[in-house]
Amino acid sequence: MELLQQIFVLPFVDMVSMPDFLIQVVWEGFVAGVLYALIALGFVLIYKASGVFNFAQGIMVVFAAMALVGIHDMGAPAWLALLLTIALMGLLAITIERVVLRKLVNQHEAILLMATIGLTLVLKGVGELVFGGGTKSMITEELGLPTGSSDWEVFGGIVIFQHIDIAAAVIAILMVATLAVFFSKTRIGRALRAVADDHQAALSVGISLHQIWAIVWFASGIVALVTGIMWGARSDVSFALEIIALKALAVLILGGFTSIPGAIIGGLMVGIGEKLFEVYWGPIFGGGTEAWFAYVLALIFLLFRPQGLFGERIIERV
């Protein structure tokens, strides 16, 4: 009886009795959700255009962040380090396309998935070897990103907003808007959608698959870099972070594998959901529920909607 009360009544009472705290928790969840959404965005870009589920997306985020800081540590000023990292991600995209994707063109999607798992290992090893396995601090100030925080007095209490979090949200929105415009209005965007639909048909109208794939992986790399910067600005980066990127997979389930708005909404759902659950229900279970909440949420979701919120209905034709 008491347990029932604890689960179904008390958390909501807590929420209502301290609304300022609730807003803080929701905001924290929102911020985490934005970052999950960005990682998921990288996945969606690649999956939309090449049908490949890029398991290495998470490690790309970390790799990009570590590379940026690493290059800066080697002596380059922030703007140069940024440019070099962007170039590095471009080089990475071309290499992956040439060495891995090209050779696995007609293979089953499971094989491509496993190839990206292998890629994860390689990136992890190379990254740790070159940039070191320890944790690093993100060069937030050098990049010109805002620091500090603002307080907002509401409901008789205070809610604190970190400027960097606001910046992250704004940048994320800008990026999504840019990508949306890019996809629908430009020639390359159109080509990307064509490739996503049907490789062979796209080839037959003269679209170069290889070029498109390189571009998409590069775009995804840029997204990864931005994500890495934002993430690193809030907490230090290290190669142990990649596990958190696995959460983006749960986001993809909620939002669908091919939908950009879905990635955003899915990310926010996961971010806010797991924060709320951990703060208000976590103590009943001894805490640490953030480790699995996202996945269980995705699991429950899948049982009712196997294609996710925005995904395409899977129709099997025999």
Binding site: L113, G118, L121, V122, K124, G125, A291, W292, A298, L302
Partner: protein, 361 residues
Amino acid sequence: MFYREAGQYKTSYAADQALLPILQDRIGLLMILVAVFVLIPLIATDFFLSAIMIPFLVFALAAIGLNVLTGYAGQLSLGSGAFMGVGAYACYKLTTLFPDVNIIVHILLSGFFAAIAGMVFGLPSLRIKGLYLAITTLAAQFFLEWCFIRIPWLYNFNDSGAIEVPGRKLLGISITGPLATPTVRYLVILTIVAVMTLLAANVLRGRIGRSWMMIRDMDIAAELMGIRPLYAKLSAFAFSSYYCGVAGALLVFCWLGSAEVEAFDINHSFLILFMVIIGGMGSLLGCFLGAAFIWVLPIVIRAVPSALGIDMLAATTEHISNIVIGILIIFFLIVEPHGLARLWQIAKEKLRTWPFPYATT
């Protein structure tokens, strides 16, 4: 020249369906069995047994479990580490609650707990396929890991959160705990793994194994031929998790002697997956080849620098090992998606016409 089927006629279906229809294969297997059961215990060092053979066997068993689920039944799973954990903790609870019962019995029983967990987390497979299913197996992995930490009853409220293996005997010989010698532990694991491999081979070539492969290849057609997806998929999860569970129990009781949650984390799930991929999905031989490869490779890489006289940090060799394994995975997927087992099969094909390189059989 040596490896030919000429003259070996099968005069009954039973002979045709035998596990090893070719005489040379049977001789080969016999030689391997003699080597592992007799030779190795006699001549191997404790280090070789503890650091190479025992882990190899334990992971090979887990790889068989995962291969059944992913390679034969086509259900991609990233939760094998957690299912090993279920087996390990179940065995621990069983033996601390019933210390008088033989430990082997407990090890074999603990697999059933893992099987149940497998079936529960396998339920979504009825509606969810492919990548989506893999992600839900992650739910199993992280949730079960969390349980291993947050349910103190599992590790008998031990302060450190780890499980320590009590000493147990069989026929008067210590087989677990600090008194058990590597040789004894090796033989126990070897026997269990050998028997379980045989059982798996039997199931895979029969009705149940076929139903799994049907589900893997085209589950719609399978259903239209009378296979109930519910039974097929859940049985695959159950069978697979049983093997992972026993492997987990063996890992703790006959190899490490103690374990914390990290022994069953997502990295181990991936490790076993790599073994299955490189060894060959859908091949029992592949499980052993993959396990040997993935386990021995880092040891070799670690040994190379010191053999060459170069000083290298342990961390560096680990990074290099990661890179090499990653490259090899990609390489295998490009060159031979069916892994080492297929390469072995191709080699055997070539052997059949050796020494004539251009002959066809």
